[in-house]
Point group: C2
Chain length 333, copies 2
Amino acid sequence: MRSHPLDDSVGALLRQFGEGSKRAAARLISLVEDGVPEALDILERLYPQVGDAWRVGITGPPGAGKSTLVDKVTEQLVAAGERPGLIAVDPTSPFTGGALLGDRVRLGAVANDGRVFFRSLATRGSLGGLSLHTAEVADVLDAFGCSWILFETVGVGQSELDVAEKAHTTVVVLVPESGDGIQAMKAGLMEIADLFVVNKSDRNGADKLEEEIRLALDFKEWPGWRPPVLMTEARTGRGVEEVLQALRQHRSWLEERDLLRQKRRRAMESRVRDLVLDRLSHSLWQDTGMRAQLDAGLEAIERGQASPYGLARKLLRHGRMTLQRNHESEESA
Amino acid sequence: MRSHPLDDSVGALLRQFGEGSKRAAARLISLVEDGVPEALDILERLYPQVGDAWRVGITGPPGAGKSTLVDKVTEQLVAAGERPGLIAVDPTSPFTGGALLGDRVRLGAVANDGRVFFRSLATRGSLGGLSLHTAEVADVLDAFGCSWILFETVGVGQSELDVAEKAHTTVVVLVPESGDGIQAMKAGLMEIADLFVVNKSDRNGADKLEEEIRLALDFKEWPGWRPPVLMTEARTGRGVEEVLQALRQHRSWLEERDLLRQKRRRAMESRVRDLVLDRLSHSLWQDTGMRAQLDAGLEAIERGQASPYGLARKLLRHGRMTLQRNHESEESA
């Protein structure tokens, strides 16, 4: 786990990255996303260039029009001279995503704009890996010079809470048909939203939904920032300017207080913890002894001779020794 | 981490639980959910009674009518002489959930039925804790004698993938307004659904949505079980019987092959890994030395004198020694 000199190809990538190569950036992101052994070294090398990109999480149910909204906000950011980076956090498998809905189809007008960096991240399979890699990929984009980073996440679940933890501003997009205000509250959105957007506001029920969200907001005291509720028709662009304005207001509001520092610190803490846990887990399950014990234990459970809890205890004992042994061999290497 | 004799109050709870006390069951679930030190012991004690409850995960966007569908399926299960247990996995905070939408409001006719066990679980705050506790609570309900366990989860995200991993049958509920078939595919539902339900099938677009799902299913080869697409109006009960029938068919289909064993094994493996990781993480961050290093490191990052990646490395080194030390002191205790 000590810092190693990076091999030649990674060194070349970092050099090209420094010269502004989008291809090198894409390649580095892939290495980070795949969690290759060099990933931590790459990220550490880039860290001094990580600046102040404003990180915006955009979440909401499928079909709420998040992608369209993100595209329009991105267009406006480009027009304002910003360099936006987009990260779509997408639980799509290669199968469905590749076959039915490529990035190019998804991302309309801004897809071919050289000033925009777009990246979609798969999420399947890795426990806790989503938020970890999201923040890391954002660091790469930040170091690459993006001034705004928009994360788009599908759905409302644990993963979105994690993303909200890592964003500076969280936007919750709802549509009249996605359920009423109470449903939104039920899904715990009140706690994560800095900004509500009622999209497809030309549809029936938009005013009612807006009213319900406002009423729900009234239930709570807002000594600080009260999330505004904005109406958009992302498809036509109506209301998008106001969204960007609200994003900038939230940014200034945080920056003018000590809140941004506190928010950054919490995000950093959750991130460092994730990193440590991810690495521990990695070195634990890579150990052949651990895997053999796990397999034998699972068979014993199947035969009714053990419980998952007993097995966990046993693995925990073994795992501690494994970690210590690995540690010692790395220290003496 | 070795098995300790449980203290008197827990012992009494386990006795009452064995005699069928719902109150004792509720209390034990709370202990498990809170992750008290005795939780593993409790679960290990109950494990021999964990039987063959069929575990069904029900997921979909907010407003899809999952709760209503779950209620109706539950009614039919009760009518068929089954003992259903319901677990609502809900990212609601105490604030919003308590004030706006109590369990009693949520759960219609079956709320007061003595043959039904209902429990809602909060999900906030614990990385990876959701699926862990969901499976554990299901074990308690299973040991209590529930023959079917329905997990209801809000949204489409990482947490739902985790729940799908732990369920025997996963039902995805969509409504005409929740987006089209391509949206559903985009959200990765194809991989987790054993059964699609188009709810609110009296509404405009229901037939179109059904058709889109079927078309999307046609994109893939289904050498084994092909997820059926059912239409329901959960509110009136129309189509609910067919859902239960499909659930039973899926169950038989898995049971008649070796697939159930494989599925159980995968679920068990992911669970044991989660347990080990959760415990490791717990003992890691409870250590005052680790916490002090974390705090000092976060301050150094704020001052621009360190990177999160460097800090993670340092904590990892310290963490391995911490785990080993804790291990030794427990072994010699």
